[in-house]
């Protein structure tokens, strides 16, 4: 037991990866593809249970890291396998391990061909995703960030829909392009740190951050802006922020159900997590300086995503565009730089994982039955699938933020945070923060419009299409699959305190860093700007 708690995060990362190797080995010797889903399900479930041990962790300082490990990796370039978890990543890790068994079970009958490779890629994806959330070394973070692309690329490309090749390649290239710029920034930071550390550089996020906090390492001016954007573009593409969101609808539509669920629930969070963890902490001045750009783009994303979702004929594509809108809310909350807003953003990340994940599962259920997702092919199916319709409606309510369900808490906190925020400032009698909040508020209304309209067209009215008359209601497997998510929706909507409490200290630390601990850097930077800018 001690061994497990001692190396908890490493086990969480490595267990799925070794599981993937074991699957391939199993297939080589026994050639029993039918057993693979059970093995995979078992592995992901065990990983989830192990991840619950995270609750036993205690921080040594408020907002500090738990389960920290720091082992040299490549000494020649001074990069370390430095991992740890804090309030920011805590729930995201658990969300990942929680959503994995569900998505495995969702493929129970959907994936018939090439199961070995499918489950192996799912497991590898889990390793990479957990790695992203826990790594505290910039190079290791980059490594996992990129590594998550390959399994997803295969999942979309091999087991995806009609346009799978186009979507898979687009997904890969969009994300890789952004993250490569980040690599340049990471190496540049290495040398900036070397400049104040006697020529010894480091990729260690904590070390760099401490050097910045203590005022030793000062990055200002144009150089800092470029670095900020190198990180920000990589993460914005992942979020995805308008106008670099175009890969998302394609990837979602063509991914297999499990892929869509993971994509929505976890992969998108890497972007928002990265912005909060790295951009805010490393470049607080620039984060404030450019906040208005992110807020404007987030609002555009909210409204644009909602409007485009409204006219989608395909249910899955509609949900995908609703993701763009939801992630806009998350960005909005983060860039309010208020504790309420940032906590709300973090909470909304989890909510989006739960409710949009559930929506993709539900869409998958009906697709497995009818092999179509066009809204016009349905209508009145509440008559033949009452249980399914009930669950779908509840999930819809959660997604559009009905009180007592989880979505409401997140969106409410975000809007309160934005309202109180001072980041946009006041010109004359116009408080731009109020305007931003009001515009975002319209997004909630739009969300209600497109979701409810879709629900109405799919589930209610008369059962017109004869093919739908024989549809079976949910099976026990499907109920078991969706039930944990339903419970969470209600629980998170009624009692958000335990979630928010866990993340509070870390979020406050970041918020203080981005709001307060910055005045010094500008002053100091002015003393020797030339040297710093050109390093």
């Amino acid at each position: 037991m001690d061994f497990i708690t001692e190396n908890l995060l490493t086990i969480l990362i490595l267990l799925p990866a070794f599981g993937a190797i074991a699957l391939v080995g199993h297939q080589m010797f026994w050639k029993q593809e039918g057993q693979l889903k059970w093995i995979t399900f078992g592995l992901t479930l065990v990983n989830f249970l192990i991840s619950l041990l995270l609750f036993t962790g205690e921080t040594t300082s408020p907002g500090g890291f738990m389960f920290e490990k720091n082992i040299p990796w490549i000494k020649a370039i001074n990069t370390n396998y430095h991992i740890g978890v804090d309030g920011l990543s805590f729930w995201l890790v658990i969300l990942t391990t929680f959503i994995m068994p569900i998505s495995v079970v969702s493929t129970w009958h959907a994936v018939e061909k090439r199961q070995t490779a499918f489950y192996a890629f799912l497991l590898l994806l889990e390793s990479a995703m957990i790695g992203v959330f826990v790594s505290l070394d910039l190079l290791v973070f980059y490594l996992f960030f990129e590594a998550s692309l390959v399994p997803m690329f295969f999942l979309i490309g091999v087991w995806g829909g009609e346009n799978r090749i186009y979507s898979a390649v687009k997904f890969f290239i969009f994300t890789a392009f952004g993250s490569l710029l980040m690599l340049v920034a990471i190496i540049a930071l290495y040398y900036m740190y070397a400049g104040v550390n006697g020529g010894v550089g480091s990729f260690d996020f904590v070390a760099i951050l401490n050097a910045m906090k203590s005022g030793n390492l000062l990055i200002a001016g144009q150089g800092a802006s470029l670095l900020f954007w190198a990180f920000a573009i990589a993460f914005s593409i992942k979020v995805p922020l308008f106008p670099v969101h175009t890969w998302l609808p394609d990837a979602h539509t063509d991914a297999p159900t499990a892929g869509s669920v993971i994509l929505a629930a976890v992969l998108l969070k890497m972007g928002t997590y990265g912005l909060m963890r790295f951009n805010f902490a490393l470049f607080p001045d620039q984060s404030r300086e450019f906040a208005y750009i992110f807020i404007v783009l987030a609002i555009v994303g909210i409204i644009y995503g909602a409007l485009v979702a409204m006219v989608q004929p395909d249910v899955k594509r509609l949900v995908a565009y609703s993701s763009v809108a939801h992630m806009g809310f998350v960005i909005l909350g983060m860039f309010s730089f208020t504790e309420t807003g940032m906590q709300g953003a973090l909470y909304q990340m989890l909510n989006h994982g739960v409710s949009t994940g559930a929506l993709f599962l539900l869409v998958g259920f009906i697709y497995e039955r009818r092999h179509t997702r066009q809204i016009t092919d349905f209508g009145g199916i509440a008559n033949v699938m009452p249980l399914y319709a009930t669950i779908f409606v509840i999930t819809t309510m959660s997604s559009i933020g009905l009180p007592l369900l989880n979505g409401f808490v997140g969106e409410f906190l975000i809007m309160v945070g934005m309202w109180k925020s001072t980041v946009l400032g006041i010109t004359g009698s116009t408080n731009w923060n109020y305007i931003a909040t009001m515009l975002a508020g319209t997004g909630v209304i739009f969300a209600a419009v497109y979701m409810l309209w879709m629900v109405q067209r799919v589930f209610f009215g008369k059962l017109t299409n004869p093919k739908n008359k024989t549809l079976k209601d949910l099976s026990w497997r499907e109920i078991g699959l969706i039930l944990p998510l339903m419970i969470l929706m209600v629980y998170m909507g009624v009692h958000p305190a335990p979630f928010l409490k866990r993340s509070r200290e870390s979020v406050v630390a970041i918020q203080e860093r981005v709001v307060h601990q910055t005045g010094g850097t500008y002053e100091r930077a002015e003393k020797k700007p030339a040297e710093l800018e050109h390093r």
Binding site: I74, A76, A117, G157, I173, A176, L180, I187, A188, Y191
Partner: protein
């Protein structure tokens, strides 16, 4: 002057130990040639002989590590990290190429014995390019390498494409050699010596400053051709496409690395950073600028041309052009380094980069040789349609190599890229930073065509017949070595990087700190 020369001739600084690895390779080549004369029907004996010879040479080369930089043979042979690291890469390339060529032993009648002998002579020449500290040695090494490679490109005597490849390579290669020689002559005219170390000393006060720039430009053209940089790259796709696949793999890894070794030695060490408005200062500034621009062009043109190719070999030819560009990023970084430590680290980074490229590329070419079948008939993208789940070993290995060429983390290519980008970013100048940004944008572009091969193999369905090629033991060994290499260098490259960066007396360096 003449008396010094006479002294040197009458009293040469003979040090056979210093050129032992090269000698072993040459002797092995002669043994292989002789054996092949008496037993022309053999197929695998010369493989074994060559491998043993290369292994012994590698052992002696490896044991030179930690000796500290020295010269011998009156300063003609350098014995420094640059030489040892590049030579080991070259020996590795030769050994893997010989293993790959076992694909021929069963399916076609290529003169294998001759091929092995030529390959060993080419390796002998390329090792002298890495160790040559004198223009004469460098040129001799280059010619030995080139002539052997011209013949290897035309190994399939009855195949038109192979003939075209050899002819093109020969004519354009000779042309480039002439430029190189001319440049060497001009530098000799300016400084009065052909020794790289002496040139570095005398360059601050040359006899004829005007010749320096001219000579430098000629050398850039000559070397630029050999490493296939834009705009001296046009021969590459045709030559690479026409040559037999194992030879193509060798040409992309071996001669390129050798040319980089002497390119770096001549420019970084021979034309060092000298401040002030002198001819030498201007020369340094010019070559750094010229190479930075060439690196950007090479990466961009290479990658964009690779996108539109429909032949896998041609695609990899353009990819090898762009990889020369990435390596040049580190090269330029070495050129602007302010201290010898940083410079050596940058040179080591280039050597390590070429090692990772060699591992990956040779693995890829071993599969292309295997899938290509007799006379490399199947080298179009279409030929790879849907083989992914039919021959998973081949397809997944090839995908791994593509991802490593792309530079995805956890593969060798990633560490290689990080290492060559570092010195350029460390310098902190606008031009070099731009160069790195161009490099990463290019990496993103390259994702398209590397992924295309994966897409074709896994995401498309096969419509025509697919008979899985039988894998000879040699190729299986190559795959094993390269796959392990890709992961090993991608995950645990620490000790090797340290070796490459500080090969000479690491204890002394640590004590000094």
């Amino acid at each position: 002057m003449n008396t010094i020369l006479l002294q040197a001739i009458s009293n040469p600084d003979v040090n056979l130990q210093a050129i032992l690895p090269e000698t072993i390779v040459a002797v092995t080549g002669i043994i292989v040639m002789l054996y092949d004369v008496f037993a022309p029907k053999q197929k695998n004996v010369t493989t074994v002989i060559s491998l043993i010879g290369l292994a012994i040479a590698a052992y002696f080369m490896y044991s030179m590590w930690g000796g500290g930089p020295t010269t011998s043979w009156n300063g003609m042979i350098a014995n420094d990290p640059l030489r040892i690291s590049f030579s080991l890469v070259l020996l590795f390339v030769a050994a893997v190429t010989i293993l790959t060529s076992t694909v021929w032993s069963e399916r076609e009648t290529v003169p294998v014995g001759e091929y092995h002998a030529l390959l060993l002579f080419a390796t002998f020449g390329s090792m002298f390019m890495a160790s040559g500290n004198d223009f004469v040695i460098i040129f001799l090494g280059l010619e030995t390498l080139s002539i052997a490679t011209y013949v290897m490109a035309g190994l399939r005597k009855s195949d038109l494409k192979s003939n075209e490849s050899a002819m093109k390579y020969f004519i354009l290669g000779s042309f480039a050699s002439a430029f190189l020689l001319y440049g060497m002559a001009l530098i000799y005219g300016a400084t009065g010596t052909t020794n790289v170390a002496l040139i570095a000393e005398r360059i601050a006060s040359p006899t004829f400053p005007g010749l320096l720039l001219m000579g430098g430009a000629m050398l850039v053209i000559g070397f630029g051709f050999k490493v296939a940089t834009v705009p001296f790259h046009v021969w590459t796709p045709d030559v690479y496409e026409g040559a037999p696949s194992p030879v193509t793999g060798f040409m992309a890894a071996g001669p390129k690395a050798a040319a980089f070794a002497s390119f770096i030695r001549v420019f970084v060490i021979g034309f060092p950073l000298i401040g002030g408005a002198t001819a030498a200062g201007y020369l340094h500034e010019s070559w750094v600028t010229a190479l930075a621009v060439m690196a950007m062009l090479t990466m961009t043109v290479g990658n964009i041309s690779a996108i539109v190719q429909n032949n896998v070999k041609r695609m990899l030819a353009y990819s090898s052009i762009s990889h020369a560009g990435y390596a040049m990023v580190g090269f330029v970084g070495a050129g602007v380094a302010k201290t010898p430590e940083v410079r050596d680290a940058a040179i080591a980074a280039v050597a390590f980069y070429l090692l990772t490229y060699a591992v990956t590329n040779l693995g890829a070419f071993s599969i292309i040789s295997l899938v290509g079948q007799k006379n490399d008939r199947r080298t179009e993208f279409e030929d790879y349609n849907g083989i992914g789940f039919k021959s998973p070993v081949i397809a997944f290995s090839l995908s791994l190599f593509m991802l490593s060429l792309l530079g995805l983390p956890m593969t060798a290519g990633f560490i290689g890229k990080v290492l060559v980008f570092r010195p350029a970013l460390e310098a902190g100048s606008v031009m070099l930073t731009t160069m790195v940004v161009v490099a990463v944008v290019n990496t993103a572009i390259s994702a398209y065509y590397y992924l295309r091969l994966i897409v074709v193999m896994f995401f498309r369905e096969r419509t025509t017949d697919w008979s899985e090629p039988k894998m000879p033991v040699g190729v299986a060994a190559v795959l094993l070595i390269t796959i392990i290499g890709v992961f090993y260098f991608g995950l645990f490259s620490g000790s090797w990087i340290e070796k490459f960066v500080t090969p000479s007396a690491p204890t002394a360096v640590q004590a000094a700190k």
